[in-house]
């Protein structure tokens, strides 16, 4: 099953800290959002593998903008 890790707060994408093919576990930081100069960590809710990275540095983000696509383990 595929799941997207979405922006939890509006702002600018500071960085995505995972790459395509990386294994991630639930609770792991996958991206960082710069909201009003404060960096907010975005974590994965699932164990899985990064299928694609959808955001890049300086992208404008709304709440819910998909940042990273995962293939969730256990399918």
């Amino acid at each position: 099953m595929e799941k997207s890790v979405n922006a939890i707060i509006p702002g600018l994408c500071a960085r995505v800290v995972v790459n395509e093919g990386d294994k991630v576990s639930a609770g792991q930081e996958v991206a960082v959002i710069n909201c009003m100069k404060t960096e907010i960590s975005v974590t994965s809710e699932w164990n899985g593998t990064v299928k694609s990275v959808l955001s890049k540095e300086w992208d404008e983000l709304e709440v819910g903008t998909p940042m990273v696509m995962l293939v969730v383990d256990g399918d």
């Binding site: 707060i9 509006p10 702002g11 600018l12 500071a14 960082v32 710069n34 909201c35 009003m36 100069k37 404060t38 960096e39 907010i40 300086w58 992208d59 404008e60």
Partner: protein, 458 residues
């Protein structure tokens, strides 16, 4: 003389600069990004120019877009405000190259003093004490470990080109050196275009003391007193005041002497600030130069009656300052509270639409600098500063009481704000008595704001 000034910034500082320009009879040009289409000050200026998308990289940080806006609007000068490109020598140079007046120090001076190590050499050269550590950047983590073995931990690794509270990393033991060194270099390369970092000793329970100066092209350098800015979260200021409760008349004279020596050696013209620390045992250490108008300049304006923006415009136009040091009196006491769009408990950001607004009643003793109006949307892309409430009193107690009463009248609905956090700080017995250091927020509220978010590089 400047006739038409472009303000290359956004938010409250635009309204602040407009006010002085109107008094001086100078026409104003504002710029705005997509997110700032509704900014209230766009109706107050002679011309408003759209410069690009919300993303600041393509608007407020775009030298090309700003120079283009200045040309299109027939401006003859640029005021950079604070933040964004205000301390970038390349922007200042681009403004000068376009045949416009730069409201700030000369680009060459800005380029030099953007290096903290340059400033450390400068201080050493004129006999001004600075924070012990290395004079030059360290190139290898082994040099950091060697310093730690000789002088002990903790120590700070600081980016030579860092600023705005970013690029300051504490190293507590030799085991951390390698990792923190690499991380600091990496942050520096990404955010400031330079990974060079140097070592500073950690000063015990310091207080942040800074000196405001204005200097013209004719050798007149006037000191407008000190400001104390020890109440901070995430290395960013929340409350500032002048004078500082700990600086004695004798110490002020010493700081003024240091400041004159530094300003002359830098060959600096315009308004600027020398930031420093005062250790618990009463020693002063120079830290860095801020080559711009500071957020907290209003505190010094209420104390001295001098309009610092006017000084900037006059000196940039090549005029002499209309006063000398002996004309400056430091009268009474002034305190500023910064109101941020943040949760008052966690200091987490809170962008959104303002659905209700009541501003404090202003007058001779209470000033509110802001760019707010009801139904205004606070964008998530820029600084969280919403407003500055600045009070004046015959003494510190009265200034504090007036600030409290001003903040009590201030209501913002729709986004969270730090108004209640400011009130908690101002009412705290340690603030009331003046007994605090830069550790105030962690010691008195167990809150540095760092558990939730880290200060980002832009």
């Amino acid at each position: 003389m400047i006739k038409r000034l472009l303000i290359a910034n956004r938010g409250e500082i635009v309204t602040r600069i407009i006010r002085t320009c109107k008094e001086m009879g100078i026409a104003t040009v504002a710029v705005y990004s997509e997110a700032d289409r509704e900014a209230p000050y766009l109706d107050m200026v002679d011309e408003a120019v759209h410069i690009g998308p919300s993303n600041p990289l393509h608007s407020y940080l775009s030298i090309e877009a700003l120079i283009d806006a200045a040309r299109k609007s027939g401006s003859d000068a640029v005021h950079p405000g604070y933040g964004f490109l205000s301390e970038r020598a390349v922007f200042a140079q681009a403004v000068v190259n376009a045949g416009l007046v730069w409201v700030g120090p000369a680009p060459e001076v800005m380029k030099s003093i953007s290096s903290k190590c340059y400033c450390r050499h400068l201080a050493a050269g004129v006999g001004v004490p600075f924070i012990p550590g290395t004079l030059d950047p360290v190139n290898d983590p082994r040099d950091v470990a060697a310093y730690g073995r000789e002088h002990g931990y903790p120590l700070f690794l600081k980016l030579d080109k860092g600023g705005g509270g970013k690029g300051i990393e504490m190293v507590s033991s030799e085991g951390q050196v390698e990792q923190i060194f690499q991380r600091t270099c990496s942050i520096g390369n990404m955010a400031f275009g330079s990974g060079a970092c140097y070592i500073e000793k950690v000063i015990d329970s310091p207080r942040h003391i800074e000196i405001q100066f204005v200097a013209d092209n004719y050798g007149n350098c006037v000191l407008l007193g000190e400001r104390e800015c020890s109440i901070q979260r995430r290395h960013q200021k929340i409350i500032e005041e002048a004078p500082s409760v700990v600086v004695t008349e004798q110490e002020r004279e010493l700081l003024f002497d240091y400041s004159r020596r530094l300003v002359r050696r830098m060959n600096y013209h315009g308004a600027g600030t020398l930031e420093g620390l005062r250790s618990a045992d009463g020693r002063y250490y120079f830290m860095e130069v801020n080559a711009r108008l500071q957020v907290e300049h209003g505190v010094s304006e209420l104390l001295t009656g001098i309009d610092i923006v006017k000084c900037q415009i006059q000196t940039a136009s090549g005029e002499a300052l209309g006063f000398r040091q002996e004309d400056i009196g430091l009268r009474g006491h002034a305190i500023e509270a910064r109101v941020y769009a943040e949760d008052p408990e966690t200091f987490l950001p809170s962008p959104g639409r303002i659905s209700g607004l009541q501003l404090p009643e202003t007058g001779r003793d209470l000033r509110v600098d802001h760019a707010l109006e009801n139904n205004y949307s606070v964008p998530p892309y820029y600084d969280p500063l919403l407003a500055k409430v600045i009070s004046w009193g015959e003494d510190r107690t009265r200034a504090r009481e007036r600030l409290i009463s001003g903040l009590e009248q201030f209501v913002i609905v729709g986004v969270k704000s730090t108004i209640s956090a400011n009130l908690r700080i101002l009412r705290h017995p340690n603030f009331a008595s003046g007994d605090f250091s830069t550790a105030f927020m962690s010691e008195c509220f167990n809150n540095t704001g760092s558990h939730f978010g880290k200060e980002g590089p832009r």
